[in-house]
Amino acid sequence: MNITTIFILHGLVYAGLLFLVSSGLTLVFGMMNVLNFAHASFYMLAAYFSYSLLRWTGNFWLCLLVCPFLLFVIGALIERFLLRRVHVFGHLHELLLTFGIAFIISEVVKWVWGTAPLPIEIGGFLDGNVTLRGVIYPTYRFFVLFCSILIGFLMSCLLLKTRMGITVRSAVDDSEMVNALGVNTPRVFMFVFALGAALSGLAGVISGPLLSINTGMATAILVDAFVVIVIGGFGSLIGAVVASLMIGQLQSFGALLFPKISLALIYLLMAIVLIAKPSGLFGEKK
């Protein structure tokens, strides 16, 4: 009984983290038709920023605010001065560009912070434990879950209830038409790209105390995030939520019940979804 609860919680926490990374990735893809290989590098960069900021200020809450903002700015600059310039040359160029950025960020991180994994100690009440149904579970993991639910809620409000959100959703569906209707789509693109980078950054900061900070963290989450957006459907936020939850639980219960093939299960699910519904669970046929 206890074991099941624990593994459900493990799965939920990882799903939360995965959702934060993949939501931005899927929105950017839906809108710009670019699979952003640098997306997880933003996640890693923010984690390293938070390490330095935490050493400097000792305040984890400050890291949670400042690092995503820094990534928002970096994301906006990359979209405005790099991605937009190669847009006219087509998707292959954009893809190569994000690939290049991912490599550059990865090398810069090694150059500045070194290759040894770095620990993060947050202290305070987040460092404690919570007892739930007889299970003692780290408070911080509930905090991760809480953050991702909060962000998911705020994002759905933004997308469904605001004028900005309507524009973004329309741009995901048909950006040319939105442009023709007089909306400054390049600015919308920049905003969404930057927002995606900031969310990825937030996930990076949150993941630090959870998974430790290392130079391989981008690759590790990128693979899972790709699987999430393929299963959920490119461009679908609800798809990202559902697929993250599926992957989280599948990974947890795969490890618990079928440890010999835990990794294969995720790809098996992806294959089944692709056969049954090639556009993903919530994706629309284009």
Binding site: P119, I120, T215, V223, Q251, P259
Partner: protein, 321 residues
């Protein structure tokens, strides 16, 4: 988990210790999955293992076929998730930092079923502290390998305050199966056994230098050519029995009051560290070093240790007969 059920071993960290630990298991036919965050370190691991094996081959301690098989049993994993798939036992060998080790074990807990045995290769960090935040603490065991792990036979197996007897026993058995000499450390004390003994010796040695009683060189020589010579064959407690405990008692009565007993690092050591003369890294410590002398001593070390361990193995066989 019984020792027979263990066929797949995961090793986290492919650095100085990690690659050697992976080699120990792969050489005995276990399937080893090696993981490191740094892809360059990971990719260079098979080559470093091949070099280690080459030395063993030159000394005719392994056959060529064993070398090939060992490398075939090794699989490189680029993510922790990948490494965790299907392993019955995982050994963590990352740098000595409590928070880092804790984060890795929390992650291992998410990616492995509760019966998977988790080991930490630490030379001093408390296993109880590493495992206290985990859900399934009883499966965490300390396995302290000595550098270089593929040569030095001793592995200290440490039971944490939460550890189960069954898991502890399985890990001890596993170490025997791969040709190691496991030592049971029943309580999780700082420094375990080896480092407590070693640093008790170092405290006195540094104190002797500080008091101007002898040069560093002569202090090292009295160990190397004196009582140290019998240490591989006779441990201190065996020697005490041979000398006679009454004699030992008499010696301790007059000698102990004169031995170093400070509970802080020596002021000589502090001075050397403050002056940044920290040993081979600075080319100056108790001795002066050059690039050649450092390289030479490390190259010779592996062969010398191998020769010594072979001699001891032979002697112990004779002793048992």
């Amino acid at each position: 988990m019984k020792v027979e059920e263990i066929r797949n071993i995961g090793v986290i960290g492919a650095g100085l210790m990690g690659h050697g630990i992976a080699q120990v298991f792969a050489l005995k036919g276990y399937k080893v999955k090696l993981f490191d965050n740094d892809s360059r370190v990971l990719k260079s691991a098979p080559e470093r293992i091949r070099n280690n094996l080459q030395t063993l081959l030159e000394m005719r301690l392994v056959e060529f076929q064993e070398l090939e098989d060992c490398l075939n049993h090794l699989q490189l994993s680029h993510t922790l998730t990948e490494m965790c798939e299907g392993v019955e036992l995982a050994i963590e060998a990352v740098s000595e930092n409590l928070d880092l080790k804790r984060a890795i074990f929390l992650d291992l807990e998410r990616l492995t079923p509760p019966q998977t045995i988790l080991c930490s290769n630490t030379s001093g960090i408390s296993i109880s502290l590493i495992s206290e935040k985990l859900q399934f603490k009883e499966r965490v065991v300390g396995t302290h390998f000595w550098n270089p792990p593929h040569i030095v036979p001793c592995v200290e197996v440490i039971k944490s305050q939460f550890g189960s007897d069954e898991v502890f026993h399985t890990v001890v058995e596993l170490m025997k199966r791969v040709g190691k000499e496991p030592v049971r450390v029943l309580k999780d004390v700082p420094g375990f056994l080896g480092n407590r003994l070693q640093h008790a010796l170092w405290r006195e040695a540094i104190s002797l230098v500080e008091k101007g009683i002898a040069d560093p060189e002569d202090i090292d020589r009295v160990v190397k050519y004196g009582f140290g010579l019998r240490l591989p064959f006779l441990g201190p407690l065996e020697t005490a029995d041979l000398a006679g405990l009454d004699l030992v008692y008499d010696i301790h009565q007059y000698l102990f009051s004169d031995l170093e007993n400070r509970s802080t690092p020596s002021s000589l050591l502090k001075r050397l560290v403050d002056q940044k003369t920290i040993g081979v890294k600075a080319k100056k410590g108790f001795y002066h070093w050059t690039d050649e002398s450092i390289k030479q001593i490390i190259q010779q070390r592996d062969k010398a240790l191998l020769k010594i361990t072979e001699v001891i193995k032979g002697l112990n066989r004779e002793k048992k007969q």
